[in-house]
Symmetry: D2
Subunit: 361 residues, 4 copies
């Protein structure tokens, strides 16, 4: 196999119906549409049940890509992993992260550099959602995606991005929607944990539903539930010696909503200072931030009461995203974060996991 | 005049109907109710028009203080400056800041130390709100409060906390409520600016309404509008050589919502590191944080679009408080901030002003 | 026992901190405070977890009543059933319904007329909430309240108003709050159903939690959960031949959210036309309206989809109250309804129950 | 000109991305896509600034129509008047109203029957929005649309549906968005009033902005602001002797939010009883309902306070739509209403205007 190279581009997309930013990137020749393997997007909806901006943005992106790929709009999803999360509360900015890969140019910087591996599970049946079948299908897909990078050791994986299925809108209502989302994410997160060796398969009871034990899980995954596919999509990110290019990835776990020291530590590992904040020059090197976490379930943060969970006007997750965006922004000086809640088996209780993608220099 | 000393105590108050935290502080002998000059509180409401938690908490605090002061519940407001702001979005924690002063104990640490000066204007008539009469009455009250500290030079003032009047609930509706709040805060903020020498009185047109020019103003004030008094209440905070005690105050301006370096600079001036965050030991020295600011009016933060101003489900100010609470918390590790929007003539456009009160060691 | 008489007065209370309307009613001599047995109130909060207007209004009413009863403010709750529900969406108006009773004046109109019976259970332990112990304690209280009216036959009961306990704020968070409210209301509603003979005690499994079967229940109760008592408070309303006075009560069930014919039928039974709406003169005879119901759980209303249950910005119950208030108002021309959701075992699925209290002429 | 006939079809559209209902109608042969002149839709967004469901649904409908019209998706808007309003609070159901017209079939019922006239203004420049130029351009378009029906007398017009331009999203923020929407609607509403003879052109000052005088206006229009065109689109509805077919239209004004008698009167004029509610058989004859109105600006409804205007968690307009939907539904038994706020110069203060389209038998 020829030496490969991966890249990540960030594009502003303030309006879910406006794909002109992505079109401009492609038309400028900075990126060949055929190299794109995944587009993650943060849209300005509420990020909850009735957030139509996710599907709207998905179609907008598909409409930009289809003619450039020479395929129909409805066929784009099957070729490119499209993964949208709503909710740009506080300082958070709606944007796209465009992942691409291909044969490395001769002049590409030698590795280790960002590697991207991809895989997709079989279609799951509705009664498999949230159960052992989903867990095992996800684990298989993670193993295939790892193999796709050419890496052998799961320890080398920095991050696994997963899109898992839930039933279409209208099929369920109210609390039932939240319930199936939670169970689907949980099953796929445990699947990642098993494939990465973070949890032994035998530790998980699977006759019925996957167990929900916050003490089990991985700290290298972000699982998002989506309505538009019955398959589990997996993208593995790692820094691989055999890959070349300008990008690197790192990840860390945050112990609670104010764990700025963990963030600063990760920035340092990527060669970025935060004393307390990245300089404008350093900021241009930070391309992507992906955070997964949840508000503390006991309504306490350190020595104080939080009222997020008891606010019936604003969903706790919206409080959470706004606060975490500010917390991260204090250190990065930046407002582009793919910040998503629903961290079952992914983050410590009340904490979070964070991946950063940065230019190497 | 005997040497004086001032103190600030922080008390958790998760529920606006629960005064037991304040009662416990007083009953433990840590503080004599008769020394209290001001209670500022952050309550868990929405901080907007129909936030009844402010008045509810005011009455709860008054009910705790009244028997300990030997006066009626309805007389507490006339004796103690009670100043509540709603909105504890994100990590922000509902709490009270209790300001007190009295003759310094012989063993009190020598100054310079926190000094507190107080004054109250005459009652304003409804047609004076937002106009020159309010501006000048506020300026007079600030001068009187400065004199009350024993300091002569306005340059020594770190912070001026102001409570300005607005009409009672039900008198106005919808946009009209926001309008009169804005004009009342603007007039009093300009009054502070004039008294502190930050703006020349002659630069302000006053035949009609005070002008709204973001380029004029002070950076050392926090003005909050309240329904329960027709007077302007003023509390001046400074570090004075003649005062003794354990507390100090500092203030700074933030250029935008992510100006963490300004916060870190202020922490350093108070002897507190933030690399990137205060240690637990340092955190115990941080007693109070007061922030005043507004979302950027053009919907832009640095190089990105923000959707705060266009979110019709969550008021922009609630986005703002959640994000700023996270930003500050990244550096302080703490979630207690009296964080209030409506910064006319107080903060730079899109920025904020911040006061911190800390133990000296 | 002397012949008795009951009355219901309605008082506007737009602000939960303003008791002047109630004070004016009492000071005008229209009502003796010592005759008051229950005050129900609709407050302008969100009616959900963090609605502090309920407790605020409770204290405001207690502060009005205490001096007039010659007791302490904290003792009012033990003497008068205080029952507040938040949420005045749409046209709904915040108000109080003041229930009183006493010896009938000689000139009082002969019965049948409104009768009020009262009873209160023992204090329930936390682990009894939502279980058989609460069911049976409620049933006993209903029987006692019925006996208190002097009536023997449960068939004569038009309505049973119940206040049932839930843990205090802060004890639980998020979904857990909704869960315990639901179970507490369910247990007390089944208790009413058993006492009224609408459900056989033997039909209910009680080893663990009361069963939740929408097919079992009563159609003559409104159960509201409250934080401020560990007891179950019961008020029975009926039209009794032995009681005298100007008031009557009636109740009905609505099959769905648009069952205006059922409402019109009840109005007619009370001597009030609705063709389609009460005349202004008829409207003055309508004193109180109490409605209990829930949005349809399947998200369907007749032949159409409703999105109430999927709206993550506005709680379904707030949609519901606004819509039902409009529906009732179309027929009554009035906006005062004590409209409360959480109708477990009280209303048909997707439907509601309604009590109206009207002057007899 | 051959005798013409018009029709209105209602299609459920619960999800703004799902055009299958419309496609099914067309594919069943019930309606020829080439006969469609207007599609109005109610979408399940918040109906406010950041409601992306309107544009999303517009594109979905365009994608259904384009292949059936043999034109490009982007060309559909120029051929068919597409007019979407967000907000299906309470019982309101998301749906489409599809207006079509063509040569009358020989067997079509003789008139008078529903007539539809169409016209479109020139493109307005941004600085013409809300000013005399927009007023006059709208008036010209209304006159042209009236002529298009073949009717001569403006008195015969039952309803004028208008789509007026506002700047695209992102061009303005916060209060400025509401301001320009209001002024654009006002100018076009006055244009309708002038064209219909309801207001004399000379009574309106037009040097600067159109005056805002609630006492001037028409009671036969619904004006909606939209981002996707710089032109004013006009559709006139009337019952014309020369038109044939199964449909009729009527309109009325409501004096306040509870004016059910006005609604009942209009239903009777259309041959539909409401005692108090349409029977299921009558309900099938009611095809479309369009309501335009606003909450009362003084926060009062009849003798009671409303808190809609002071609710900072739910926009007053969302309260309004939920309540009015319930009020109308009480009489019609139906939940399909194109219910839109922003009734400048269209409805009486605190009231509304209503058009109903019904089958003639």
């Amino acid at each position: 196999m020829a030496t490969r190279s991966a890249a990540v581009h960030r594009v502003a997309m303030p309006d879910p119906g406006d794909g002109s930013g992505l079109a401009a990137l492609l038309d400028a020749g900075a990126l060949d549409a055929r190299a794109i393997v995944c587009v993650m997007g943060k849209t300005p909806g509420n990020g909850l049940t009735n957030d139509h901006t996710r599907e709207f943005a998905t179609r907008t992106v598909a409409a930009v890509l289809a003619p450039r790929l020479g395929i129909g709009v409805d066929d784009v999803r099957a070729r490119v992993m499209l993964l949208f999360s709503g909710g740009t509360e506080g300082i958070l900015a709606p944007h796209l992260l465009v992942f691409s890969r291909g044969a490395a140019a001769p002049e590409a910087a030698p590795g280790p550099a960002l590697a991207i591996g991809l895989a997709r599970s079989r279609a799951l049946r509705p009664n498999e959602l949230g159960r052992a079948a989903q867990l095992d299908a996800t684990a298989d897909a993670v193993r295939a995606a790892l193999a796709d990078t050419g890496l052998a050791d799961p320890a080398a994986v920095a991050w696994v991005q997963v899109k898992c299925p839930i039933p279409p809108p209208g099929a369920l209502h109210g609390d039932a929607v939240a319930g199936i989302k939670k169970r689907s994410r949980a099953a796929s997160a445990l699947g990642v944990a098993v494939a990465l060796g973070d949890v032994a398969r035998g530790a998980i009871e699977t006759d019925g539903e996957p167990i929900v034990r916050p003490d089990l899980g991985t700290r290298r995954a972000c699982v998002t539930a989506a309505i538009d596919s019955a398959r589990v999509d997996v993208m593995v990110l790692a820094n691989a010696p055999e890959w070349r290019g300008d990008f690197q990835v790192g990840s860390t776990a945050l112990a609670d909503m104010l764990d700025a020291p963990a963030v600063a530590g990760l920035l340092r590992r990527l060669g970025l200072g935060a004393t307390p904040q990245l300089t404008p020059a350093e900021r241009t090197r930070l391309v992507g931030a992906i955070l997964k976490g949840d508000p503390p379930a006991d309504g306490r943060l350190r020595d104080a009461a939080s009222v997020m969970l008891d606010d019936s006007d604003i969903h706790a997750i919206r409080h959470y995203r706004a606060a975490l965006g500010g917390m991260l922004g204090a250190l990065t000086g930046d407002s582009h974060v793919y910040l998503s809640a629903g961290a079952e088996h992914q983050a410590p209780t009340g904490g979070a996991v964070l991946a950063l993608i940065a230019r190497r220099h």
